[in-house]
């Protein structure tokens, strides 16, 4: 019984992947075709000395007609990156991993200091203001989007 179900799940994924690829490829070929997901204002906080953790922020806009969802984030500059949210309960701040982040059509979402952020852990080398690092977002519909994040000073608030 599990065979056909498993098979159909796999084939659905395969069709989905191919569809995503075609959509992305198509968008790249037609240079003036509007992208559904637009990522702007990406920046990352400089790190202090050998401190291996920092945070990145960006604005993501869904110009498409369907909801999309950030499934994961990554950067070649560090061992790990995760979507996090700084949440305050009774004045106590905790960082929570955010499993996935939905963006409704027409919505634009800002990852900004003190709230949603991309937590960067295990930096391979210190980040200095003026550098840039690539940040990859994997979305359910739009697939992989890579942006260059500008490194800003440790004291930067935006």
């Amino acid at each position: 019984m599990s065979g056909p179900i498993l098979f159909s799940a796999v084939s659905f994924r395969a069709i989905w992947a191919v569809t995503c690829l075609m959509l992305n490829g198509g968008a790249a070929l037609a240079a003036d075709a509007p992208r559904a997901i637009v990522v702007t204002q990406a920046w990352v906080r400089a790190s202090l000395g050998q401190t291996p953790t920092t945070a990145a922020y960006l604005k993501i806009e869904n110009r498409g007609a369907a909801e999309d969802r950030i499934l994961s984030v990554a950067t070649p500059a560090a061992a790990a990156a995760q979507l996090h949210e700084s949440v305050s309960t009774d004045g106590i701040m905790r960082m929570q991993a955010v499993k996935s982040l939905g963006i409704n059509p027409g919505q634009s979402l800002e990852l900004a200091p003190g709230g949603l952020h991309i937590m960067i852990m295990g930096l391979k080398s210190p980040l200095k203001a003026g550098q840039t690092i690539p940040i990859k977002l994997r979305l359910e519909r739009a697939g992989e989007i890579e942006v260059e994040a500008e490194v800003r000073g440790l004291g930067a608030a935006k």
């Binding site: 202090l48 996090h84 106590i92 440790l154």
Partner: protein, 204 residues
């Protein structure tokens, strides 16, 4: 649901929200076990120059404390850049205030590391560290919570911690706590007023 039941449910929800809101605001302004206008319990720490300091060191100036740690990637740098904005906004009267960043990660945050860290925001902000026991004592004096938490899949940890600013009057009495909100201009105004009240605590 009947109309009456709906109304009742709505009223109940609002009432719970209001009580929770009042409680939360209270919890932030007056942390657990710390009352306003009472003397802050004595503490001894080490500053960013490696010098010992106590609660008495700061008498005569309003003292604004923040508890955090250097590896904190989001909230601590955001709070310290607010602290730098506050000092700039105070202009000439910034001298009436001492802002201090107290580490809740004394194992990693040495005086030198604190000095380098705070220089990125404003060198007028003092960095305070100490033995784990000294940090436990000062956090207890302000009703500050902190706890280590392992970072999943990494040989590293982060800290959960209270992120309010705690204002101490010139005479060493606890004035009140402030939670950083989204409107930094509003917060600067509120703090400006509180700092001037905390600078003449006899009039309270």
């Amino acid at each position: 649901m009947s109309r009456t039941a709906k109304t009742f449910a709505a009223v109940l929800i609002v009432a719970v929200a209001v009580v929770a809101g009042v409680f939360l605001r209270h919890a932030v302004e007056e942390p657990l076990g710390v009352s306003v206008a009472t003397a802050v319990k004595p503490f001894t720490l080490i500053d960013h120059n490696g010098r010992p300091v106590t609660d008495a060191t700061f008498r005569g100036r309003a003292l604004l404390l923040f508890f955090g740690f250097i590896r904190c990637p989001d909230v601590c740098p955001t709070s310290m850049s607010f602290a730098a904005d506050l000092l700039n906004a105070l202009g000439d009267s910034a001298g009436t205030l001492q802002i201090a960043f107290v580490t809740v990660d004394p194992e990693r945050d040495t005086p030198e590391a604190l000095r380098d860290y705070l220089a990125n925001f404003d060198s007028r902000i003092a960095g305070l560290t100490g033995t784990p026991e000294q940090i436990a004592a000062v956090t207890k004096a302000f009703g500050v919570y902190y706890a280590k938490r392992a970072l999943e899949g990494l040989d590293d940890y982060t800290m959960d911690h209270s992120t309010a600013f705690y204002l101490v009057s010139t005479n060493g009495q606890f004035h009140r706590a402030f939670a950083l909100n989204d409107d930094s201009d509003e917060m600067i105004d509120e703090l400006r007023a509180a700092i001037s009240a905390a600078s003449s605590p006899q009039k309270e």
